[in-house]
Amino acid sequence: MTDTANPPVPATPGRLRVMLRRHPTILWGSGILGLVLLLAVLAPVAFTADPRQVFPLDRLKPPTGAHWFGTDMLGRDIYSRTVYGARISLIVGFSVAACSVAAGLAIGLVAGSNRWADAVLMRILDGVMSIPAVLLAIALMAVSGAGIGNVILALTVAETPGVARLVRGVVLSLREQPFIEAAVASGSRYGSILLRHMLPNTVAPLLVQGTYVCAAAMLLEAVLSFIGAGTPPDVPSWGNMMAEGRAYFAIAPQIILFPGLLLSLTVLAVNLIGDGLRDALDPRLARQH
């Protein structure tokens, strides 16, 4: 009996599994999102044609065996374009979520820690937040020009204030907690309190907020592209496809319908994950919503 230093850890029932069983929306959401993700990753081999290749003889065809979702006004395969469009949507959604969570976390921690910084930062954020997100993103796109990078940047600017406010709120309420007071009393430096005690407590709300930001970013990207201020026109993004289909809607609704459907489904999946996570991570809210 010498190896008592490493007692066998009893197999826990798995917090993740319990969480998924109690909140099946997470499972549904992840399932749908996983499928879309798989399709996007495997786009070149997922039974697709070149999304930019034109078939002049097959213009505006309804769905057939050769073109599952039909063809658009140039005879391009809508299924292939929709699958490639998923890449744009997912890249924009995930990047904006990651960037605005990172930026919002940094701003929120600083604002929550320093009264002077708080006063200045919150006034600025209030100002940015009084410009409706779509308009702010549109204006930034008008200045910076079409491009996926610019879309991500513009949407990050629009979404960061919300995240920063959330983090600041968490930090401010934590500061009143006894365990933080204890840490202060025991002589911990503020920096280490911030990193070791406060940061971990922002993870749960940030995870939830991050998923909502991701869903919002995917919708906003489509809006931007749809009105001609998003991804460059030659990129097969869902918003661009729907914009192109506008003139042909009465005769070829499939051009708008399929990307629109996929966009709705993807956003729905992300929102389901967000709702499930919120209920799972914050039992107080679960009762109400």
Binding site: G127, S130, I138, I227, M242, F249, S264, N271
Partner: protein
């Protein structure tokens, strides 16, 4: 109350100053030369220099901002680079369709979402509640233009019940106006209804768990007066708050909806201005929309005392 309103109005001034500084700075955020950007890619150096001079771009930054702001406060938002008309005039010409669309959408939202939210809270946990919650999640995920085009496809193209696009002023032909507004306000209202229905349900559930509701039930009060007279009034504050915040979504949605339905409003003006890189118009529209948004939320704050007499303003 009046002094409170005045103080709150004063408190919005710093926010609006920051908004205006931000909007003014937009031209410079891109890092490029604003004069060259305004002139377009093909402009000669002389033309660029001319624009620089007429716009006063050679003046110091803050003095340009102050000039712009002073003019804006006097109702002068500059001139459109495209049509050479005053921006204020362009916006005023387009206000009516946008205002009408906002009003009809708000009616749709209130009529749809609040009864649904009350119903879901009343039937909490049952099938009706589930259905409303599914509507809330789906409604919040489907983009406006998808709802819009599906609506156009069935109601206008297939069944020919409603006009496809366009706008008629209610002061000219009211029935025609209504016909044109049905699809746009439904499409725009769906997202917001989902949001408001959700909050209505949550807020009602919170109130329904209170002791005075139990007392009301115990004294034999029926469901209807309990829900409508006792619960809804006490649940109103969060609902009104969300409606105020949702105005941002509404303004964003107006831009899309007006594009899809070819409604000649401020949203359409915004999109046209972006496609033409007409910066004075973009800045003017942003400023007006943000101002409206801030004022709406101020009004929401002030309305709290109507719903909850315990909230008093001094």
């Amino acid at each position: 109350m009046l002094s409170y309103i005045l103080r709150r109005l004063a408190a919005t001034i710093p926010t609006l100053l920051i908004v205006s500084l931000f909007i003014f700075s937009l031209l410079y955020i891109g890092g490029g030369d604003p004069a060259a950007m305004l002139a377009g890619g093909e402009a000669s150096a002389v033309e660029v220099e001319k624009i620089r001079e007429t716009l006063g771009l050679n003046d110091p930054y803050l003095s340009r901002y102050m000039d712009w702001l002073t003019a804006a406060l006097q109702g002068d938002l500059g001139q459109s680079l495209y049509s050479q008309k005053p921006v204020t005039e362009l916006i005023l010409q387009r206000v009516e369709p946008t205002a009408m669309l906002t009003v009809t959408t708000m009616i749709v939202v209130l009529v749809l979402s609040i009864p649904l939210g009350i119903l879901a809270a009343w039937q909490a946990g049952r099938a009706t509640d589930r259905a409303v919650m599914i509507f809330a999640v789906v409604g919040f995920s489907v983009p406006i233009f998808v709802v819009a085009y599906v609506g156009i496809y069935f109601f206008s193209v297939q069944w020919r019940l409603l006009p496809v696009q366009g706008y008629t002023s209610p002061f000219e032909d009211f029935p025609d106006f209504l016909g044109h507004m049905v699809l746009p306000s439904l499409a725009l209202g769906l997202t917001l209804s989902a949001l408001v229905a959700r909050i209505t349900r949550a807020s009602m559930l919170e109130v329904l768990s209170q002791h005075y509701i139990r007392t009301a039930r115990a004294k034999g009060l029926g469901d209807r007066p309990m829900l409508l007279r006792h619960a809804l009034k006490n649940a109103a504050v969060p609902i009104v708050t969300v409606i105020g915040l949702a105005v941002a979504t509404l303004i964003g949605g107006v831009v899309v909806t007006e594009t899809v339905f070819a409604i000649p409003g401020v949203g359409r003006l915004t999109v046209d201005a972006i496609l033409r890189r007409d910066f004075p118009v973009i800045q003017g529209v942003l400023l007006v929309f943000s101002f409206v948004y801030v004022l709406v939320n101020l009004a929401v704050d002030l309305s709290y005392s109507l719903f909850d007499p315990r909230i008093r303003y001094r």
